[in-house]
């Protein structure tokens, strides 16, 4: 379902008066985003390309004499021979195949100066398209560290005199020169072309005819569009209509039969041409000295010290999340409590007041309370990405993650989800393989997030007969639940990898970039951007559902002033009773049923709902509620909350989705309702089956 909100589908206006359009293009890790931030400042719009989760960023920039231009940050890619939706979007925008993006007037190709030969591969592909280009040689500092000497003049002349600007975008060096070059009225379009081998050219010409008939071509004047459509190995074939795929497959088969390995021949021809250029333009040192990055990696990727460092850093992260976030979470809680009281004092008693206090304020407060944790996670993830350590974590964890079909980049999102699945799901943007990314999103909410803790702690308190729970017992049960969550995540990742999704056309590629000092403003900007998206997306959904849930527990009204009786009489109470036969085999009565329904929006709501049902003041800690639950009896006088009921409930919360913030974020990150609904379904079914098994097997083993 395409998203209609202004945030997600900011189709650019057709007003050409907004200034010339520049696109930033480059390999992953070329510093393109840093340059984009440096050029546009905070004036940028972030969204998705319609119909696909490829991030779309556009911003404004003022050149040296105040001319306003628009800048589009295109997705990073290794080649125009697409292997993923990211690369397909880049190809389609550059070829003018997308109706939502205007034809580009200028392209700034960002290259990592220390990796010039490989980065020239994509750059030369783009130069051939005939759009005027500027080459921005970023990361000159890293090139200096590696003693590379680059002859900018020779490089420019190789491409027909196009501007070549050396820069260091993270220190804003070269920005002025780049802007001056952008302000030039005339930039020559490069005449550089890698010659096609003659037989492949004739093959492409006959393909061109067939493709033209099928109507898939946007520009009919060049062989490059058929070339890049035929070399598309993106498993989703993003940007190509299904009926046109047949014509493409047909031509692909013909070419592969006539000229086996034709794509590989073109790659070789391009690298031959690039090699000729770099021979003239780059002088490499004879001896390679070990750099700062090499020295750090000797520790961070060491078979012993590497793991120690990883444990230390992640330990620090989780320590921060649970210790530092504690204070602000308390403040937010008191703030919302105060707001509730203030409204109570200001308004006359009535349904409207209850709706605002118990529905809106309590519902939104329940989400906002996790903001400190989410902010710390976003900040840490941003820091780890910016310094280059994130790639090292992926490098170390890849082998383990590949066992269940994921890759090393899935590790941090899954780990973050142990505090909160929201930043975890949002952090999956760094996973470039679309299949791995989707699987990571689908299993992230199984990680034991902090909203489960209150439920676990209450159940453990009821379960353990003594008043003081021995620390070891508490740790044992918590570890058991976290272990179940991790095991479940890996199990489902493996199942989804095997059964659910198409394979991919790209091998796992990791790059370990040079370490660098983090750019605080950029990281904070990243935190702000992600948080804003979360609050806006989740906030609206949560607000709506909170109001609905409030209605469910309030109406129809009973005359009895006792809130627990009122709840029994309400719609939620009726539904709880209605589902009782279904949840009875799991060991639950209708009161627990109400708790399950009410906590659909957020797990921790279970605890407060139970307090209302049993008319216990929640503010006095969990002891009163614990004692009340322990003394609850069935009609036959036996206790309701036996050990196996408590365990069954905990297992239910291990697997059940029960978090609307996550649903909202997954909907945004997968661009539609299909995957969040699938996720709710598979998780809820697993939760019910798990709870059922615990209760029934417990019964067979003779537990009460």
């Amino acid at each position: 379902m395409p998203d209609k909100s202004s945030e997600d589908s900011n189709t650019p206006s057709s007003k050409s008066s907004e200034g010339m359009i520049f696109a930033l293009v480059g390999n992953p890790n070329c510093g393109k985003t840093t340059l984009f931030n440096a050029l546009t400042g905070l004036k940028q719009k972030v969204g998705n390309y319609p119909g696909v989760t490829v991030e779309r960023k556009e911003g404004e920039c003022f050149l040296t004499h105040g001319e306003k231009v628009r800048i589009i940050d295109l997705p990073g890619a290794y080649s125009l021979n697409a292997r993923s939706p990211d690369e397909a979007v880049l190809r389609d925008v550059l070829l003018g195949r997308r109706k939502d993006t205007p034809k580009l007037e200028r392209v700034i190709i960002v290259l990592d100066a220390s990796n010039l030969e490989r980065h020239l591969y994509l750059a030369t592909q783009i130069l051939e398209l005939g759009i005027p280009c500027i080459l921005a040689l970023n990361m000159m500092d890293v090139a200096h560290d590696r003693d590379l000497v680059i002859d900018f003049q020779a490089l420019s002349e190789s491409f027909g005199g196009i501007p070549v600007i050396p820069m260091e975008a993270s220190k804003r060096k070269g920005i002025t020169e780049l802007k001056q070059s952008m302000a030039q009225a005339e930039v020559p379009a490069s005449e550089f072309r890698v010659p096609f081998p003659e037989e492949i050219k004739s093959g492409l010409k006959s393909s061109w005819n067939e493709l033209k008939t099928s109507g898939v071509l946007a520009n009919e004047g060049s062989l490059l569009e058929p070339l890049y459509l035929l070399s598309d190995h993106d498993p989703t074939h993003y940007g190509i209509k299904n009926k046109q795929m047949d014509a493409i497959h047909d031509c692909q088969n013909k070419l592969a039969n006539q000229f086996p390995g034709w794509e590989d021949k073109l790659v070789a021809a391009r690298y031959d041409a690039i090699h000729d250029i770099t021979q003239k333009a780059i002088r490499r040192p004879d001896e390679i000295e070990s750099t700062f990055t090499d020295k750090l990696d000797a520790v961070f990727l060491h078979p012993v010290w590497g793991w120690a460092a990883l444990l230390l850093i992640l330990g620090l992260l989780f320590g921060l999340i649970f210790k530092v976030a504690d204070g602000p979470m308390g403040w937010i809680e008191s703030l919302f409590a105060w707001a509730g009281e203030w409204v109570t004092g200001q308004m006359n008693e009535g349904d409207l007041r209850d709706l605002i206090v118990d529905g809106v304020i309590a519902g939104v407060g329940g989400v906002v309370i996790f903001l400190p944790q989410i902010l710390i996670l976003f900040f840490f993830i941003g820091m780890m990405e910016d310094t280059g350590y994130m790639a090292r974590i992926a490098f170390m964890m890849d082998r383990l993650m590949s066992r269940v079909g994921l890759n090393g980049k899935s590790f941090l999102p899954l780990l973050s989800s142990h505090a909160c699945a929201v930043p975890g799901v949002m952090a999956t943007r760094t996973i470039d393989n679309p299949k791995d990314r989707l699987i990571t999103i689908l299993v992230s909410p199984l990680a034991g997030c902090s909203a489960r803790l209150p439920v676990y702690l209450l159940m453990i308190a009821v379960l353990v007969p003594s008043d003081e729970i021995p620390l070891l017992t508490k740790v044992f049960f918590l570890l058991l639940m976290y272990g179940l969550g991790i095991g479940g995540a890996f199990f489902f990742a493996w199942i989804f990898h095997k059964r659910l999704l198409k394979g991919d056309g790209a091998p796992m590629i990791l790059e370990l970039p040079a370490y660098k000092k983090p750019a605080f403003t950029a990281v904070l900007w990243h935190v702000w951007e992600r948080t804003r998206i979360f609050v806006r997306r989740a906030g609206t959904v949560i607000l709506g559902i909170s109001i609905l849930l409030w209605f469910a527990v309030t109406y129809p009204k009973s005359d009895n002033p006792d809130p627990s009786v009122a709840m029994e009489y309400s719609l939620a109470g009726k539904v709880g009773k209605m589902i009782e036969p279904v949840i009875q085999p799991m060991g639950y009565d209708w009161k627990i049923g109400i708790g399950l329904i009410a906590s659909f929006a957020a797990r921790e709501v279970f605890v407060s709902t139970m307090s209302i049902i049993y008319s216990v003041e929640e503010s006095e800690g969990i002891e009163p509620l614990r004692d009340r639950l322990r003394s609850e009896r069935k009609a036959d006088g036996t206790p309701v909350y036996t050990a196996r009921v408590c365990l069954s409930l905990m297992v239910f919360y291990v697997f059940a989705m029960q978090c609307l913030s996550t649903v909202a974020v997954v909907k945004r990150e997968t661009n539609g309702w299909k995957w969040p609904l699938f996720q709710i379904a598979y998780m809820t079914i697993t939760a019910c089956v798990g709870a059922l098994l615990v209760y029934q097997i417990g019964g067979m083993l003779g537990y009460a």
Partner: protein
């Protein structure tokens, strides 16, 4: 070690020249696009602490690939 083996067998820090790499396979074409072509000189920089993936230096740039792919790339020791 014989004079012809695969990339994943290379010792840490050792240099080699790529002999052959499977043709006509989408994954392998991507590795070619990253510069892993026959007759290209490469160096194995390091293995991940768990042995996989491996980081290699090729045409002045560093990339990490899995052993699964590296097994298919034949090398000649220089």
């Amino acid at each position: 070690m014989s004079s012809s083996s695969c990339l994943s067998d290379l010792e840490q820090g050792a240099f080699a020249v790529i002999g052959s790499i499977p043709s006509g396979d989408a994954s392998m074409t991507r590795l070619r696009e990253l510069g892993l072509l026959p007759n290209t000189r490469i160096q194995l920089i390091r293995r991940a602490p768990l042995g996989d993936p491996i980081e290699i230096s090729v045409r002045g740039s560093l990339i990490s690939i899995r052993k699964k792919e590296a097994d298919l790339i034949k090398i000649n020791l220089s």
